[in-house]
Amino acid sequence: MVRVLLKFSKEIVDKPITSQIIMEHGIPINILSAHINQQGGEILAEIPTDQANKAIEAFRKKGVTVDVRKLIDVSEKCFECGACVALCPVNAIAFEKDYSVVFYEDKCLGVACGLCADACPARAIRLIG
């Protein structure tokens, strides 16, 4: 799951944007919290990883500011070979002492970089945003 913060401006806050996207794209969006008034609003939501890019794009098209809280998703397919480690320019991927591969999501640049994704033999890395 990808966690996103959706920011609605005053101009669009009265439109049923979230429900439209859920219905049009069939994406199950889970709303975790929502603070809305006439001046605008914020929704913290979760979107399934494989549909995240589609949903984010749809929200942005409708004028919503999308703040992605997680830029990289590593699936259970990862067998911790480490092919990605030396490629990461910001040290967001590293080996632990026991050669586990760890991902520091807060350091990751996401699709803005993306050097690791196509180097993954397990195809376990998905970049978001």
């Binding site: 911790e80 070979c81 026991d98």
Partner: protein, 471 residues
């Protein structure tokens, strides 16, 4: 064991330790599985077959197929291949089989479509002809562009390096003279018990490049230790987990299994040169490789593995548990593996051509020349490409007749404004095939030929190459 030898000496370690377990988990392309389907009704003598759109090869009599790890899906090439088919079957997934045949009196059927799981197969055996390389090279890339190789993604100008292998944990590194590993040695293979059935292809123990051929029952294996994988723009493969127990039969073996990463050296190799003999840029040991940083040409370069050291350790630990629990028994080899084989290069009856055989003089200019002067040179010398060089003859850029035309139309005044700075180049020792691939890939029509100092030695054009191919 390694620590024990260091702290208490070989004699004590030899007395204390009975067996040392080893492990490795990495991409092993020369792998595959043999399956038997049973007969269809009416029967078919399969000529060609596909599983999940991956062509599977070499039917023997009628319904035996070999799933090669590197065969790629015809609908999803470079993403799904034979390795993934093997993993899916081991995981219990259903796969789709398609087959065609020419039809005979005894096997009349010419087409077949069905679905299968591993339970539907009579035999499903992993049959890998080259596994477990004792050590492998460290790969890097001198080129100006990222390249995608069987050693993974290599960034331009030595910005990263990759390596493979478990170093001191590698099975063959712990028994380099094949005292205990031979035909019939029982091993950990893909999470089950398997066997060494011979030396692997390209086995060259004299250069610490030993390999083994193995066989094991896929139906008992686990997808944790057998996984399909993809190397972008290279192809698909299979990650194989192998562990071998080394019984400490003598003090000599106790000493050999004490080998440490710092004693295992390998070459740093430039995969930017697409030749059989790739330039070696230095030596490095596995301790340095595992540290994540090595030095290439006085520059610190980040390096990471393609094989999983964590899984390698898990395999050695699992094998140890099996032996302690009495569920795994060691075997003495029925026959020794050869220790003197060498890996010869291919005999070629027809030599192929390299850039050096068609390179010709490049028409050049310097950056400070007038556009008009360069335009005249293009006409006088009847060429389409002018290579821009500095005073020392080093490559600075390229200008084509098209760039000059564009400059005239758009009224650019200075040559410097129209020079193409990012130039795709070649070297004299590159094959014509590789040069032709560069031309097609970048949709360009000429490559300046340069040496290591970027001095321009000449130029090759797509016309030169097509003339040669057309001959």
């Amino acid at each position: 064991m390694k620590k024990l030898v260091e702290s208490s000496g070989i004699e004590v370690a030899y007395k204390e330790v009975d067996v040392v377990t080893t492990g490795t988990f990495g991409a092993m392309c020369s792998s595959g599985a043999i399956i038997n389907l049973g007969h269809a009704d009416p029967p078919i003598k399969i000529q060609r077959a596909w599983i999940n759109d991956v062509e599977v090869c070499h039917p023997g009599a009628a319904v035996d197929l070999y799933i090669g790890a590197t065969m790629m899906s015809e609908t999803r090439p470079f993403e799904y291949g034979g390795g993934h088919v093997i993993e899916d079957l081991i995981s219990g997934k259903e796969v789709e089989l398609r087959a065609t045949a020419y039809g005979t009196d005894c096997y009349p059927r010419t087409k077949l479509e069905t679905t299968l799981t591993k339970d539907d197969l009579n035999q499903f055996y992993l049959l890998n002809f080259r596994n477990c390389y004792q050590r492998y090279v460290c790969a890097t890339n001198s080129r100006d562009e990222t390249i995608y190789t069987y050693m993974g993604k290599l960034l331009p100008r030595f910005r990263n390096a990759t390596y493979s292998g478990a170093g001191e944990l590698n099975p063959l590194m712990n028994d380099p003279d094949y005292e205990t590993i031979g035909v019939g040695t029982r091993i950990f293979l893909g999470g089950a018990q398997g066997y060494v059935i011979g030396e692997g292809t390209q086995h060259e123990p004299g250069k610490q490049l030993g390999t083994i051929m193995v066989r094991g029952d896929c139906k008992k294996m686990s997808p944790e230790f057998i996984q399909g994988a993809t190397y972008t723009k290279y192809g698909t493969t299979l990650y194989v987990g192998i562990g071998i127990p080394i019984p400490i039969l003598n003090e000599g073996l106790a000493k050999k299994v004490a080998i440490r990463d710092e004693e295992i050296f390998t070459d740093i190799v430039d995969y930017g040169v697409p030749r059989r003999e790739r330039p070696k840029l230095g030596k490095v040991n596995y301790e340095q490789l595992k540290s994540g940083r090595i030095t290439i040409k006085d520059k610190e370069v980040r390096v990471s593995s393609l094989s999983s050291l964590k899984t390698a350790k898990k395999i050695a630990d699992t094998l140890k548990t099996w032996i302690e629990n009495g569920t795994f028994y060691l075997t003495a080899p029925a026959e020794k593996l050869p220790v003197d084989t060498v890996f010869k290069p291919m005999k070629q009856t027809k030599e192929i051509s390299f850039v050096e055989s068609i390179v010709h003089e490049a028409v050049t200019c310097t950056e400070d020349e007038e556009i008009k002067t360069v335009a005249q040179r293009i006409i006088n010398r009847s060429v389409n490409h002018i290579v821009v060089v500095d005073k020392e003859g080093r490559l600075r850029g390229i200008v084509t007749s098209w760039d000059i035309t564009k400059a005239t139309a758009q009224e650019y005044r200075k040559l410097a404004d129209i020079i193409v700075r990012h130039v795709i180049t070649t070297t004299p020792d590159e094959s014509l095939e590789a040069a032709a691939r560069k031309l097609a890939q970048h949709n360009i029509s000429a490559l300046p030929v340069i040496n290591q100092d970027r001095r321009v030695l000449g130029i090759v054009t797509s016309e030169d190459i097509s003339k040669l191919i057309g001959r």
